[in-house]
Symmetry: C2
Subunit: 238 residues, 2 copies
Amino acid sequence: MSVDGTPHETTASAEDVRELLGLLAYTQLTASLRYAHDAGATDVLSRRLAFAELAAQEHGRLTVLREHIDQTGGDSLNLLRRYHGVFDEYESRTHADSWHERILKGYIGHSVALDFCRIAVSTAPGVTRELVTTLLVDDRAQDLARDVLEAKITDDHTFASRLALWGRRVVGEALGQVQQVVSREPALARLLSGGAAGSGFTPDSTAPTDEDKQLMAWLYAQLTAEHSRRMDRLGLAA
Amino acid sequence: MSVDGTPHETTASAEDVRELLGLLAYTQLTASLRYAHDAGATDVLSRRLAFAELAAQEHGRLTVLREHIDQTGGDSLNLLRRYHGVFDEYESRTHADSWHERILKGYIGHSVALDFCRIAVSTAPGVTRELVTTLLVDDRAQDLARDVLEAKITDDHTFASRLALWGRRVVGEALGQVQQVVSREPALARLLSGGAAGSGFTPDSTAPTDEDKQLMAWLYAQLTAEHSRRMDRLGLAA
């Protein structure tokens, strides 16, 4: 915090910000292919079209991000390479048994990733921050997940409680995934630290855990709170 | 033919043309999801990106077509519904055993469908014809298929002959699929007949087979010739 009590805006380094954009671009690529897969896995044409539309939207965002990276002195292909495979372990640990489980898993995982990016991007230069904020609006994905899941959740209590359980497992794995990426990439850890400082996180030097652990606990609390709000809106216990 | 020997341009009915655009739109939707699947099924990042790009391109074409249909008095969703599932039987009869087989199959099947559309659209009004002709340029798909398959074909003769065999099976199924759709949809049969007349097909009234069968034989010859040229360019025996 600055002396007058307003959040102190530290400006992140261009290299660190590019790392984040690389992660975000890879996340959009993965989401695009996942939505296309979801589209192909339903025989209901209106849903197939809606998911295909989302897939195209995510690919459009990937393209915008890559252009931004490349035009600001970065190398988007190299950055994507760095994150290639980053979600593989998460994927292998969260094998969905049904189309609805897949939809919920995709929605939860993608939302957690975007929430993380929102926090981490907050100390990036204004242009990048605005670009990312625009790209991260995810109303259509949310509306579609709700549309697909809500009717089944309302009608079938057994299904709803199984799905709630599945949601808890998925979010646990997603949080673990975030922690892994942050500890692997110092640039992301720095951005997170800056973003957290701007959002009210102040380390407690008298606490028994070190600052990194406190930061992670703070991040988990933020991500979990957003997750709970989303599950609430779906009518699922978080 | 007109009296002065130039091709007689019959103008197809708007309803018939819309049927064709519906089929084409559904073909683009299917291609988009297939390319996305191909992208997800390779771990080579540059290829994953290239196929994801193709998927987005096909979805963009679907969107352009739907807008054109809806703005010219049609109902694109209804038209897509009419063709929903039309490739299911073809799909179930051509299960690819490897990623390379999948790529070749997709390339062959999609190319045959587009060649058919090119012939059938030739009596459509100028605006529609130009739109479709622009949309049907498929250089990137062709370049990518070649890029993916060529190295393996050149290096591995056993692989090349297995792939050539597979290509013959796929094109056979694709031609059967075309025939099925044409016989199911009178609008497409009328467009094909008009397009064939404009491309030099003249039924032989002294022949032992009726005009429909002659038309189909002519169509098969056109589609097979294009297919052979494509296989040649890949270095595969058609």
